[in-house]
Amino acid sequence: MSKKRPQSEVSRRKFLAGAAVTGAATSASVAKAGTPPIGAAKIPTVLRPTAQQIALEANVDVEVKPEHGRPGSDFMVDVIKSLDIDYCYANPASSYRGIHESLINYGKNTKPEFITCMHEESSVAMAHGYFKVTGKPQMVLCHGTVGLMHATMAIYNAWADRVPVIVVGGNDLDAARRAPGVPTYHSGQDINAMVRDITKWDDNPVSLQHFAQSFVRAYKMSMTPPYEPVMIALDGGLQEEPMNEHSGNLYIPKYIKSAPPHADTAALRDAAKLLVNAENPVIVVDRMARSQNGVNLLVQLAELVQVPVVDQSNRMNFPNTHHLNQSEQAQALIRNADLIVGLEVSDFWNTVNLFIDNGLDNGFGARQSRVKPGTKLVTISSAELNQKSNYQDFQRFQSVDISMVGDAEASLPYFIDAVKSASSGDRKAAYEKRGEAMKKAWTQSHERSRQTAAVGWNAAPISVPRLTAEVWAQIKDMDYSLVSSRGGIGAWPNRLFKMERHHHWLGGSGGGGVGYGLPASVGAAHANNKLGRFSVSFQGDGDMMFAPGAMWTAARHKIPYLSVLHNNKGYHQEVMHVQRMSNRRNRVANLGTVIKDMGPVGTRIENPDVNYAKLAESMGWWATPPISDPAELGPALKRAVEVVKSGQPALVDVVSQPR
């Protein structure tokens, strides 16, 4: 491993030279690792690179001479800064006081900047949302036991959504040195254990050099597809002990991004032969596009043989304005298909099978195949590279004809080449005919969606399509990003918004944990704001109440975005679960005896209604009172958009239909 002398200062000449080196190194890295997500390169960097950054980008490790009296956490900050991390989302805690002080004083609270959060679940969700915009993992600091316990749900969401987050938990490991009482309650011998099943890698460094290796390794592993969160336990003693001669000669390992794994080329050739010869092929995608490059590649593949694409929408994979986007015809296409190619589909079993939760089969529900006998099934997925078994996010097992392990986006260039090689001119007319049929189907679907949206157009509470169309009317001329959509809005934005760019829709939570929408929106808006984009979120009312303190973080750190509250006053998924049980048992669902709710006991958020406007205003937001009249919605949204443009977050409370 090559090493150079440390640079303690950066002259103007060296700074400029370093900048040139930075550019070259970035290009080389991109060439190796694929195009970064859109926007990743656009984030303005106003700070001079540190000596460590320059040296690292020149492809060498950085030596750091231990200085007597400097705390170990200063060196940790040097390591963190070498990775160009923008933010540290955190709720303060005693177990990481050493690095906290180093970050804000020694590190001058930049790269990363400390973002004050009011719940560790919010911290992780903000980092989750930020990554989806920038493709850059962020750091979360938390108290190692109780804070990490709070963070776990959001870590699971990130795990299931294939999103990297660098979680660092403070911990006072040494029982002989830590204070008795609360600090000891809040310590553990292996704090990482509680998140080991939902992180890709973790470590518990016991020296400063160990920290440097582990932090860079953790970052690297989190950024190799499948992207996943990682966890580092950070001993309080190690943070606070001064660097001395026992620290040895420290160095910061250079981070070089790993090239993503792609599918086997021989298997891709076999799949390509099936694709070019199929009469009714369909491509199904879910978390396929990690970047705009992924979207562009998928369009290229689909157009080669005019194959329809069904986007399951955990990312914006395929433009909804393209005639080959046939997501609305998913069931019919899958039923008639002779070939189904699944790209990073999180639940392929449920794509080709139907499960009905209707109490048949001794209460376990019924299973029906959605596909014809003989339909060929092909998959490319990186999920098999995850060697974890406790949590069941891998879904039911589905046998397929060609199974390829690898990252789908990284595999697409090879797949496209294989399809081009396998194509012969005699199928050209068939592809053109299929393309024409898809154009007609797309137009019919487009019109059908709008006619469906017209039903109940003037209803109060406001219908979900009306709500969606009113929002679209206000944002359609801006470079927008729909950062979150929950609470029964369903696919309406995918039908009524024009979604053509990767950032137009960031997808869902991953693990389905309620409480993601608000903080993830804040994190995504944080990133979009720097890119000059307008962020909008459909916010579920139940989701908002899990950790409303995230609103304060948005106001405190001047993160503007439009939050449209889908206020249906209930937990509607659960309404039907209770209703289903009641009906199955021939009982009338209990709506309450003293206070009559509009749904089974335990599923409603009413009596009293939450005053969301006061809640938001109390934390520095602009907000509207509840809006039930559809005629009032457009003007309210217009005012809110202007507020957001002025730099303040805004909440529009819409009393809406359940779903």
């Binding site: 009905i356 939760d357 209707n358 109490g359 048949l360 019924a366 019109e447 709008r450 006619q451 469906t452 949206a453 017209a454 039903v455 109940g456 157009w457 209803a459 509470p461 219908s463 979900v464 009306r466 169309a469 009113e470 679209w472 009317a473 359609k476 029964g488 809005i489 369903g490 696919a491 309406w492 009524l496 209930g570 509607h572 309404v575 039907m576 209703q579 289903r580 009641s582 009906n583 199955r584 021939n586 009982r587 009338v588 669902a589 709506l591 509009m598 749904g599 089974p600 239909q657 359940p658 779903r659």
Partner: protein, 116 residues
């Protein structure tokens, strides 16, 4: 005789019985609207039966009463069946009257926001 044939016969018989009982009841759209909410139909189908992410459109122009009633009583699909012990025939008839009262939907081309 196939199982499907038997199911159809039973469903048809059930429909006739429900229809007969409902005919004797003066159905009220106003009462039906209240029942549509309290039985929770609106949770999936929307307050005017427009449909949603969890349930199909029911109105305007609902299915013939026999077909709708048969489905409500006997469905083995995603929606749980509402048997008479849970939803009496008279209440179902009122709900149907409400669905029939929902006015027609305008052509989406006349709604500017749906032509953006």
């Amino acid at each position: 005789m196939s199982v499907l044939h038997n199911v159809c016969k039973v469903a048809a018989l059930a429909g006739c019985l429900i229809l007969g009982q409902a005919a004797a009841h003066a159905a009220s759209a106003e009462k039906g609207k209240t029942l549509f909410m309290t039985y929770g139909c609106f949770q999936c189908h929307g307050t005017v039966g427009q449909g949603g992410n969890a349930g199909p459109r029911l109105a305007p122009n609902p299915l013939p009463y026999e077909a709708l009633a048969n489905f409500v009583r006997t469905t083995n699909r995603q929606m749980p069946p509402y048997r008479e012990a849970v939803l009496p025939n008279e209440d179902l008839a009122d709900i149907y009257a409400y669905l029939q009262s929902v006015p027609p939907t305008p052509d989406y081309k006349t709604i500017p926001l749906l032509n953006n």
